[in-house]
Amino acid sequence: MTGTEELFIQLGELRRHELRRLIAISFAAHLVVVAMFGFSPESRISVPRGVVAVELVQAPAVARPAPPAPVAKPAPPKPAPPVPKKVVLPAEPTTPKVKPKPVKPVEKPAPTPAPAENLEDALAQLRDEIGEEAPPTEIAKAAPAAAGPLGSPDGVPISPEVAAWIKKTKIHVKNNWILQPGFRNEVLETHVEVDLDASGGVRGTPRISRRSGNPYYDESVVRAIQKSSPLPAPPEAGKWNFVFQPEDYY
């Protein structure tokens, strides 16, 4: 039982004392009124003096230190008890069990990529994936509707080869991205331009083209790219744009 709870109980007892005192006063006052009815009206004035006298009763209750109580906890909830009753707990210890997460769910491991039968299958998988979870990034938003979810910014559909590479690359980079728990529910987005050679090696230092506002988050993104080198061999060597978002961003 916490100190606050002890305090509540102590003060609750105090309040009950006070209530009993007021009830007693009220009762006494009514008796006096009934007994004195028809006599001198000045006698009613004696009632408040009684309040002053009885007020001394609460002093010991206030000064009483909280007793070193046994391990105790409140009784099961009642309709609206301002102060819970105590019940003695069994001393037998139990196995600790921490309830799974409240605010920030545990990060799930990256799904193992199921090998696609061919490029068309990979494309279909990617379509499904993007259709379900692709966020409205600037580039995605910029793509003409006619191009569909896999359209490049100028509306040219993505080839199955590029789609398959994106899928492999996402999994590869994700596994190398250390995202500390504190970032998971943040609204952060970093864009990085990565220069890849034909075999997927990262040339030079990745260039951040859009910062998130949190330098440590941006740093984690650059670290992920560097750690991922070599990436899966791209369809074409050159610069590719990567967008990093924490999970549960949207």
Binding site: R15, P65, P68, V71, K73, A75, V103, W177
Partner: protein
């Protein structure tokens, strides 16, 4: 010559623009969520004439306490296990350390020299082979070198995440291990538990000053009624405080973040109210004015608001008010017994204990009241939450093993760790600030 230069610049610009356009034309690769939560660290033993093994063990414990690192077994090292001298960039061997799966390499040296203990270390980010930190500490030889090891671990947390670690911080709590409730202090990992009071009376509600130099607590040591006392670290005068208010029972005090004022719970007329006073006990201002019991004040980190507990609705619930007592608003509506609010140092959450069935669980609610979730649920009671100064962890007392003990858990609900194992109840933890 000038024409040639202009032509070269023009060619460069065209090439650069073309490359840029090329990247923009391609579809983006969108990565959502990292696959890893922890940095893999290769930590060398710090060479020197102090107990290097003990020093490394303290750093390992402190790094693991942060929940942000996993240590690579030294048996896997391809390079030396002990630092002889700190490396330069061309000799650190980033590739070797990366090959064994390390993200971070930490090296260091230490020595006891006359009256001083000196330690220097470096942190390397292996992905870019970049030295992120190189720092030297110097302290009196009489001071605990292992606390310096924890401090270095906290530095490593900071350089990688932007927020210091808390391994070198301390907690205060109440323990009945010697029979009566006394105030104790311990390191954040539960080590070095020592008594701050030994008055054989009843002591409760310890809270730290913002500087970490002193602890205010409630004690019945004099006249057998609750009054407030100060325990200090050698600075300032210990003993009874708020003498001008001592005609009233004083149940609890918490420092305003400015360190110059207190929120005090006292009951001048029988029902507990919250007051704001200066450290001398002068200029008391009544923040709550109800016939209800108003207790457990907790300041917002900016000092502009307070969370507190009141039973004005018929049952104890968490309320918020401005620092002058205005704009009182009920925050919790779940259950019929919510108490002990603790405002996180980053201002985002208020932890509290809420009764569920017959016991208390730790809950988190945001100050707007829009998100309210249990952090931990257990058949036994978890009570009195308090936040670490980095807002990443919550310490609390729990009866899950029988008698009440202090535990710590990440604010994500992971990495539960027991800090105390005493024969008597350990309750009412309060986490101290970052060391200066």
């Amino acid at each position: 010559m000038r024409a040639i230069s202009l032509a070269a610049i023009a060619v460069f610009c065209v090439a650069f623009t073309a490359a840029d356009a090329r990247a923009a034309d391609r579809p983006s690769v969108v990565i959502q969520g990292g696959g890893e939560q922890k940095f893999a660290v290769a930590l060398q033993k710090f060479g020197g004439n102090f107990d290097a093994e003990a020093y490394r063990e303290s750093m390992v414990d402190a790094l693991e306490f942060s929940s942000l690192f996993r240590l690579i077994d030294r048996k896997a090292f391809l390079g030396p296990a002990t630092t002889e001298v700190l490396s330069e960039r061309d000799e650190v061997g980033c590739l070797e350390w990366s090959t064994i799966g390390a993200d971070i390499f930490v090296e260091g040296v230490q020595r006891l020299e006359q009256e001083q203990f000196i330690a220097e270390f470096a942190v390397w980010d292996l992905a870019g082979c970049q030295r992120k930190l190189n720092r030297r500490y110097r302290q009196a030889a009489s001071a605990d070198p292992l606390m310096l090891a924890r401090r270095m671990a906290d530095d490593i947390v900071e350089v990688l995440t932007g927020v210091r670690g808390v391994a070198s911080t301390e907690l205060t709590f109440v323990s009945k291990r010697d029979g009566n409730p006394e105030i104790f202090v311990m390191n954040a990992d539960g080590s070095n538990q020592r008594a701050a009071t030994a008055n054989r009376s009843i002591n409760n509600f310890p809270t730290w000053s913002p500087s970490g130099d002193s602890i205010i607590y409630t004690s019945y040591r004099s006249e057998n009624r609750p009054m407030l006392y100060l325990s200090t670290r050698g600075r300032g005068k210990p003993g009874r405080i708020l003498a001008p208010l001592s005609s009233n029972p004083l149940y609890r005090a918490v420092y305003h973040p400015n360190g110059r004022e207190l929120a005090v719970v006292m009951s001048p007329k029988g029902s507990a109210e919250i007051y704001r006073v200066d450290l001398a006990g002068k200029n008391p201002r009544n923040l709550t004015r109800s016939r209800a019991i108003d207790v457990s004040p907790s300041w917002s980190p900016d000092g502009d608001r307070l969370a507190f507990v009141s039973d004005r609705s018929g049952s104890p619930q968490i309320y918020l008010m401005d620092s002058d007592g205005a704009n009182v608003r009920r925050l919790t509506f779940n259950g019929n017994y919510n108490t002990n609010p603790a405002w996180s140092p980053d201002g985002r959450w208020i932890a509290y204990q809420g009764r569920v069935g017959g016991q208390f669980d730790i809950w988190l609610i945001d100050p707007e009241g829009s998100v309210n979730l249990p952090l931990i649920s257990h058949p036994r009671s978890d009570e009195s939450p308090c936040w670490s100064p980095d807002s990443r962890k919550i310490a609390f007392s729990s009866t899950r093993r029988g008698s009440a003990e202090i535990y710590v858990i990440d604010s994500s609900g992971e990495n539960l760790r027991r800090l105390t194992r005493s024969s008597g109840d350990d309750t009412s933890p309060a986490w101290g600030p970052f060391p200066r």
